[in-house]
Amino acid sequence: MTGFTVEEQVISVLAQIYRGEVIAAAATVSADIAARLAKALYAPEIVLMAGGSMAGYDCAPTAKGLNDEWISSTGAVRGSDWIEAFDLISAGKYAICMGPVQVDRTGSCNISVLGDWQHPKVAMIGSRGIPDDMVRLSEMTFHVRKHNPRALVEQVDFRCGLGFGPDRDRLGLTMGVPRMLVTDLGVFDFDRDGAGMRVRSLHPGVSFDDVAKATGFELLPPQGTIPVTPPPSEEELYWIRERLDPLGVRRLDSPKPPPGLIAELAERERSLWTTPAGGAR
């Protein structure tokens, strides 16, 4: 791949999911920058939060840092709180891209534990809001940073979000379906009957065999030629590099982040702050 990084490719794809008068919520760095890119170029109607802070709703698409509240709060229209956040989720006024640790062939996802829940091999972070999103939102998008057989599994160890198939049909769940998965290799979606995962497009230079090897289950066979994911446009690259992520926070999402990156970003992000910090007045 030349001319742009895989993170920039992913951001360009994810910028297409944020549309309409909704909160643009993001659980990965790339999705966060993608929401800002959508706001800047395609969907001025979406509502950005100040780096996920409920205290700042409806921000301008400012540059991404680590302490985002210090960068974007001054441009917020109003404050909100966690009660309203879940009222908005209940009303379907949210577009979410989350970063599951495991996704399976039906689109179920897991961020809670690896192994058995009672005696976990790895205790991760808990189910968080995924079970809430899946009963009220129209759809969810997944971003998996590193496509490998540990992330793309036959069956998730613990279901935080339920994919397609008989279990979903039996429960009568129509909302919160996994609409799309974006990884460092391509763009995927899930058969509505739970038959499996399809390749929608492959990023430049990636073959079907590469993806098949990196996936822990059998992919649905492609129908005809698989398209190449459209590369980010010049305008998108300008916005990502110059306006929305001049420090390169997106490198945190790269398959191999450089060592010491967080420390470097923590130092450099101070140049972006619009709110002074450094001690109680």
Partner: protein
């Protein structure tokens, strides 16, 4: 009514086995000085924390948690919580895993003094079916719709850190309030540490701020940067260097005791 009390007195007011909660969320506005003072007492307690971070990690590392209820435990950009991992993976810590909306509903049940709250969340999530789950499916007596009943979360003691409080117990939080206002109404005792204590909070309160009335507050202590290395807008951005230092040492009990000792004394680095 003057509610200023020393931090140490807040910690000693916590009875063994009580249900304790902490405000803030993840790496933001955690009442770390109060958490440290409590951990150093070596009194076993139960915890119910909405979005746990270094607060829960420190309590677990100190070995004083009998049971943990949570919707999230993690150190955000700094990764998984080391002492949560150890407690869950090798020490058999009893836990109740909630979803965020269910935890909020449980707290709201407590604020309204009802035993449970209905939610639409539940179906399709494995946390409904794990051993010891307190959640129950039921049919709405009015419409027949299938819902989930979640029990009330009634903390005996809540600790939270705020930007400002006054001597009478009024509290002002700048930045994300998380569930602090709701938890303050659900808890029997509410202790607040604040960067500064003023005679009286007055003037106009911004739309972006969260306030809690003294009617809900039991005691306040002035603890500048009582949030430790966690962020508290706008005064204290997250101190990534100190947080990374914590992550690399927090499994060491000796180091953690020293760290807690310094925090409880008001030293943040």
């Amino acid at each position: 009514m003057d509610k200023v009390v020393p931090l140490g007195e807040m910690a000693s007011a916590v009875e063994p086995r009580s249900l304790v909660s902490f405000g803030g969320g993840g790496m933001v506005r955690k009442p770390m000085a109060a958490v440290a003072a409590l951990a150093l007492r070596e009194t076993p307690v139960r915890l119910a924390v909405f979005l746990g971070g270094p607060d829960v990690d420190l309590m677990l590392g100190a070995g004083v948690v009998e049971q943990l209820q949570f919707a999230y435990i993690g150190l955000d950009a700094l990764g998984l919580s080391p002492n949560f991992r150890r407690a869950r993976e090798s020490e058999g810590l009893p836990v109740v895993e909630w979803t965020e909306a269910m935890f909020i509903a449980g707290v709201e049940a407590a604020t309204r003094r009802v035993p449970f709250m209905p939610t639409v969340s539940g179906p399709g999530a494995d946390l409904m079916d794990v051993p010891g789950t307190p959640f129950r499916r039921f049919n709405c007596p009015l419409t027949g719709e299938e819902l989930t009943a979640v029990p009330a979360i009634r903390p005996d003691v809540l600790f939270l850190h705020a930007n400002e409080a006054d001597r009478e117990g009024n509290v002002r939080i700048t930045g994300d309030g998380f569930l602090d206002p709701q938890l303050a109404r659900a808890a029997s005792t509410v202790f607040v540490t604040a960067d500064r204590i003023v005679d009286r909070i007055g003037g106009s309160v911004s739309e972006h701020e969260t306030t809690i009335s003294r009617l809900w507050v039991s005691g306040v202590a002035e603890v500048p940067r009582g949030c430790g290395f966690t962020a508290s807008f706008p005064d204290w951005p997250l101190d990534y260097a100190a947080a990374a230092d914590y992550v690399s040492h927090c499994r060491d009990r000796e180091w953690l005791r020293d760290h807690a000792g310094a925090l409880a004394q008001g030293v943040t680095r």
